[in-house]
Symmetry: C2
Subunit: 483 residues, 2 copies
């Protein structure tokens, strides 16, 4: 990846956190809620930030539709009484719950919380509508906002309100539900690798890191450029834990009443944070072509001239039927406009100047590696296929780079002392044999500030003694500092 | 329209309100929040109800895109302090505002309200990001949930939480902003007439009925089958009222600081209520083809037979590349399955039975008029074009019927006593000369329970004396009982 710099963006080497917020600000992805009359820790999704989310929604909805998953929308507010039914669940979320106690000047007789997640409402609804095995599997999803009060917030990665999709499904039996939990984490893995071009590790969460109330949590874990891990999506298997509490019963094939088997799964707007921290550089945003709000920027280098306007519009007409294209006609210099296009992460910039019109040859300036490619204007077909190929190559390049970073930075260890020493300086995942006991994990966390990320679906090596407590037959597990 | 009945649905003639909730329940469009662990007055959008909203979103987004309107997402919560800046606005909304006072067990130092609308946040954001005329017009929209506490709720029509889009724009001058306000109400009118097949009256709200803080409110008004009007969308012109309060300034072409000119406009999930009450009948839902979640239902009349399965799947394959198609393979009778398809408002039902396979001819059973049309299975092209034509005709039929109902029920009056007598029994709009004085309108409202709906954009007749107070030169205005 390139080492060029932009004066408005702190270099990653100097201060990664500052680089991140600089990129977000310069690329105009979001603004801070607290500066705009909302609560601390919330954000405004500006057009380019929201367009990334819309692209993610569109691509995931296509995948959901193939599996016959149906979109629904449940209410924002949950009654305190309803929420308090499932113990583990309430313990996990209660301290972060924003609570509505009055309307206008009137106190409510029963307090309402803003949904931090919607298991409770889905369960109540399922218990009303499910009666027969013929209705199962019932596969629901909703795209919505949720509120979880956070002390330390960071745009996209951790915000007091965020956008997500939460899938909730009900199944005929244990095996079907378990398989579906796995199917969804693999769907997320494919999506993040193919569309977001970020390498993932697919695995199971340790007992310590499971979702409140879940019997099993699968996760996809990604590696950011600063060496910290980021959880990019999760899929939970609940078994009959919630269906028992909420009395979700169906009459099975033998005409007997049976409790349903449940899953839930979700990804959120933190994927936008992952995209930024996985691919971007000191010039600004770098985005895969699949998800970039605009794929091509046409720079008109002499906006007042009719001759230029005609050529720019001719090219725009050719390209905009295939790609998401913008025209920049500002009265600014080529280098200023090129830099703006780079800050915004537009995959291909094409400048139309005197020379281009004279020679009828344009340069595709690629964002991610700064390469340039000459193409004749008059060969429409070649122009379009060249761009298609370059947009595909962009995604491959980004994915390969992401995969390489993850692999080369992976550190295999069996000794906790060495781990403790390295943890402050090593950038990347550790893979260690771990006993998966809550007490052991709590000790590791308090001593090192790191957490287990996942137990990979495909075992890394044969089990060994736990790197911390020496329990034999411990499974190789990923650990890292994380967002 | 047809007069057939379904035993689970109360006839419209007998009890229109009960008919409405019966249709919603039987068609599985929504469920009640209060019965599912949420607050009273909220609803769950079930898959078919939400799919209608997704279709509305999709079609409106296409129209917004042509106008270069950009989607954004602002936070859910607004600080009380920020909200209280604009007086008229706060007076209009304060009594309905759900207020967050604590998180977990901790009281917040500043209370937050859940957005009832987002003018305040958009204004704060605009004041931060706008500096030059070159950025204008700035055209933003957001699709989101809002909360307005309602005492009398009705699914889709009036709910404590609802889904909507709210557009907020900032302009260079008065004329541009006024024109844009009008452009958006006309866009809504086109959308509702063409895609939802409901006749609208486009007009301006009276002073009494304007949006809190707006200088002008345009509306599209529709007529339901029970003779009550329903406001289906609004577009507001704010002038510089809010930009003064929020100090939204830009440097104009003469390099002088000037306050921006503002509009906002929105439609909500009450459009789903309008769809139901405009088109549906005693058999259940009737939907235009543009917005129906599924356009065709294939009934397999012998689900266990391979021969049937093959034919049904062959037809499904042909049709599903052109239309939204479902297969019903339940082990139920033809009439039961046909009735289910009708309840759900699926425009065309096709039953595959012994006779159809033998003759290779299928019947298209049309939902809205119960007509049937024979088509040969083996003539694929004819089958597809016949269905395309029938789906188009469905929308035309529904629109014509809606238009006819509105026109034939319109009552022109100039005398308030007559109005007062008729208002209890007349089903439809009244058109009357009205002075547009707040005091006069309040009297009419308290005496008759009716409100002005709009002053039509195209004058109905020459001005005359107010039908109530006799003020001369009063403009012809629509009045009605309304939802």
């Amino acid at each position: 990846m390139n080492n060029a710099k932009n004066k408005n963006i702190t270099a990653r080497e100097i201060d990664f956190a500052k680089w991140y917020t600089d990129v977000i600000k310069q690329a105009e992805l979001c603004d801070y809620g607290a500066e705009n009359g909302s609560a601390a820790g919330t954000i405004i999704f500006r057009p380019r930030g929201y367009a990334i989310w819309e692209n993610i929604q569109h691509l995931l909805n296509q995948k959901f539709k193939i599996l016959n998953i149906e979109n629904v929308m449940l209410p924002l507010l949950i009654s305190q009484k309803a929420f308090q039914v499932e113990k583990d669940h309430i313990e996990g979320f209660a301290p972060e719950c924003a609570t509505v106690t009055k309307v206008g000047n009137n106190q409510l007789s029963e307090e309402l919380i803003i949904r931090p997640t919607s298991e409770v409402l889905f369960c109540r609804h399922f218990s009303k509508i499910i009666s027969s095995y013929k209705q199962l599997p019932l596969l629901y999803n909703q795209w919505c906002n949720v509120v979880r009060w956070e002390k330390n917030t960071k745009p996209f990665l951790r915000t007091s309100e965020f956008l997500w999709q939460e899938g909730h499904t009900m199944h005929n039996n244990d095996e079907e539900a378990k398989n579906f939990t796995l199917k969804m984490i693999k769907l997320y893995a494919d999506f993040v690798e193919q569309q977001l071009a970020i390498k993932v590790i697919v695995g199971a969460k340790t007992i310590h890191e499971r979702f409140a109330g879940a019997k099993m949590t699968y996760t996809i874990e990604t590696m950011m450029q600063d060496g910290q891990a980021l959880q990019a999506g999760t899929s939970h298997y609940f078994g009959q834990e919630f269906t028992k509490v909420f009395n979700i019963k169906f009459s099975n094939k033998d005409n007997k009443q049976e409790l349903g088997y449940q899953t839930s799964w979700g990804v959120s707007t933190r994927l936008i944070g992952a995209l930024i921290m996985a691919h971007s550089d000191d010039l600004g945003l770098v985005l895969p072509s699949t998800i970039a709000p605009h794929q091509i920027m046409l720079l008109n280098l002499s906006p007042k001239s009719d001759k230029f306007k005609i050529t720019v519009e001719r090219i725009f007409k050719i390209l905009s039927s295939h790609f998401r294209v913008l025209i920049n006609e500002d009265n600014k210099s080529f280098s200023y406009k090129k830099s703006e296009s780079q800050i915004k992460g537009i995959p291909i910039t094409i400048a139309i100047g005197e020379q281009e019109i004279e020679n009828q040859v344009i340069k595709l300036i690629l964002r991610h590696n700064l390469d340039t490619i000459d193409v004749e204007i008059n060969n429409e077909k070649l122009l379009v296929t060249t761009i298609i190929n370059q947009l595909n190559k962009l995604n491959k390049d980004l994915f390969n780079s992401s995969q390489k970073k993850l692999n080369t930075s992976l550190k295999e260890l069996t000794d906790f002392n060495e781990y403790h020493k390295l943890v402050k300086i090593h950038k990347g995942f550790f893979i260690v044999p771990f006993c998966d006991q809550i007490k052991c994990e709590e000790e590791i966390k308090s001593l090192t500030g790191t957490t287990s990320r996942c137990i990979p679906l495909e075992p890394y090596k044969k089990p060994s003694n736990c790197f911390k407590c020496q329990t034999p037959n411990s499974v190789w597990t990923y650990f890292a500092r994380s967002y």
